[in-house]
């Protein structure tokens, strides 16, 4: 109850003056002949979760990597917190679809790896990692190795690693697509409370309509050929009704239908 109260107040503040954490301006990117992105512009409000939703091959990963500074755009620019992006930075952290864990390193070293690369001393980074290992529910697995964990647990390691560097912006590329359906639902619920409790900006790539509508404050629908943002949808009515009620909320169902109607013609 208390949390839903806070959410309401932040919600109304956001409506009053939307603060933009990340903005992409006129981004174009070609891979040889392939036009992956063409003149794409999109704003990401601070403290909210924005989904990039669209059929595969429409440039979602490309856009996320450009925001993350892993790829440079052919033209256009990305600003994070008012600063133009020229490469990877401490204000952004990635969660990868295939987890991207070091197979030769224990859970605690994996979680602390972002801090290790940022030059944080071993004892300090391990105590930070310890906290996030607890937060994601992996206490007791500190000294396990990735191959000893299930897919869901591995992605919790990936999430803890991204959280432990305390970046303002979390970039998640289909983070739940490699885990089983039940785990995925649990992740989605956990993500909702994460968005609520951490004042971070989430950019979340998915190809699942239901998932996007379930977790997002804002959904950007990307369409291919030429790649563009075709529509921005902001579900507002059901976010505070509790995770277990969202899926039968009429607005939720309407939005899912509406998105399917606009995407169905792009399915081969």
């Amino acid at each position: 109850m208390a949390t839903s109260q806070t959410k309401k107040t932040t919600g109304s503040r956001v409506e009053a003056s939307v603060e933009i954490a990340v903005s992409a301006r006129n981004i174009s990117k070609n891979y040889g002949e392939t036009e992956a992105l063409k003149n794409l512009s999109l704003d990401f409000p601070r403290g909210q979760l924005t989904s990039l939703l669209g059929p595969s091959g429409c440039g979602k990963t490309t856009l996320l990597k450009i925001i993350g500074g892993l790829l440079s755009a052919d033209s256009g620019e990305v600003e994070v917190g008012g600063q133009a992006v020229t490469g990877p930075g401490e204000d952004r952290a990635f969660v990868f679809q295939d987890f991207a864990l070091l197979p030769w390193a224990s859970v605690i070293r994996n979680v602390a790896f972002g801090l290790e690369l940022r030059g944080v001393a071993k004892s300090e980074r391990e105590s930070i990692a310890e906290k996030y290992i607890n937060d994601v529910g992996l206490a007791g697995f500190e000294n396990s190795y990735p191959h000893e964990l299930s897919g869901g647990m591995r992605q919790r390691v990936g999430l803890a690693r991204a959280l432990s560097v305390d970046a303002q912006v979390l970039l998640m590329d289909e983070p739940f697509s490699a885990v089983d359906e039940q785990t995925r639902r649990k992740f989605q619920e956990d993500l909702l409370s994460l968005v609520q409790n951490e004042n971070k900006t989430f950019i979340f790539v998915t190809h699942s309509i239901e998932e996007a509508v379930y977790v997002s404050d804002q959904i950007a629908i990307l369409l291919p050929r030429p790649s563009r943002v075709s529509e921005i949808i902001k579900p507002s009515g059901f976010r505070d009704k509790g995770p277990e009620n969202i899926r039968r909320d009429p607005e939720y169902l309407d939005i899912v239908d509406k998105i399917w109607a606009s995407l169905r013609s792009y399915v081969e």
Binding site: L70, F96, A100
Partner: protein, 250 residues
Amino acid sequence: MKVFGYQLPGMSSLILWGLLWEIVGRVGVTFFIPPLSEVFQTLFAIIGTPAFVKALSETAYAFSMGVFFAIVIGIPVGILMGKSRLLDELLLPWVNIFLSAPLTALVPVLMVLFGFGMKSIIITTSLFAIWIIILNSRAGVMQINRSLVDMANSFGASSWEAFTKIYFWAALPEILGGVRIGVIRAVKGVIIGQLLISIVGFGALFELYSANFMMTHFWAVLIVLFALAFTISEFLAYLESRVAYYAAKR
């Protein structure tokens, strides 16, 4: 091996071949094959002698220096080839040529370039070992999971950090495989070097024993050499098995 339903311990086939050797030796088919028991007697007799210890230490020195250079040059070169398309296209044809070239034919050239001493022997040893180490390190890097590299970059890894914390470890199973084969080739290299360049170490012993038809001595030294090579290779295979668990999971 199984005989009449009994599980024989590992390597019991060696016993069989040893027996055969002993019989052939005793029958006296050829002076070239003395009985195995005599070979072992000779082995224990010569193993502590100053001549043998000197040969062993000379060979061990040339061998370990040669392998050392093959590893410290070969692994980074292989990793860099795997990372850089340009470097790969420049170097790969040469690596492939040298991998299959009859290196023994190059030894006289090395003698002209580097003299008749230890230096040439070490370089010969390195030349035998390095190419497979380069190729395997390169292969290890090429199969690296791209998202590990993206991950390291996203946390701001420098190229040096990416090299030491990602590429090296990701390629380690292949690197160790390459080092293992390289070491076996280095054994060949060091003996050929010692025979052709300057007659020192085990090479000198082989030369001495075969020139004087001292076949038991000849075989005794050869067995020592095989045993050493086998031990090193088994040790590396053990290290490989330690990292094999993640070779499959990358």
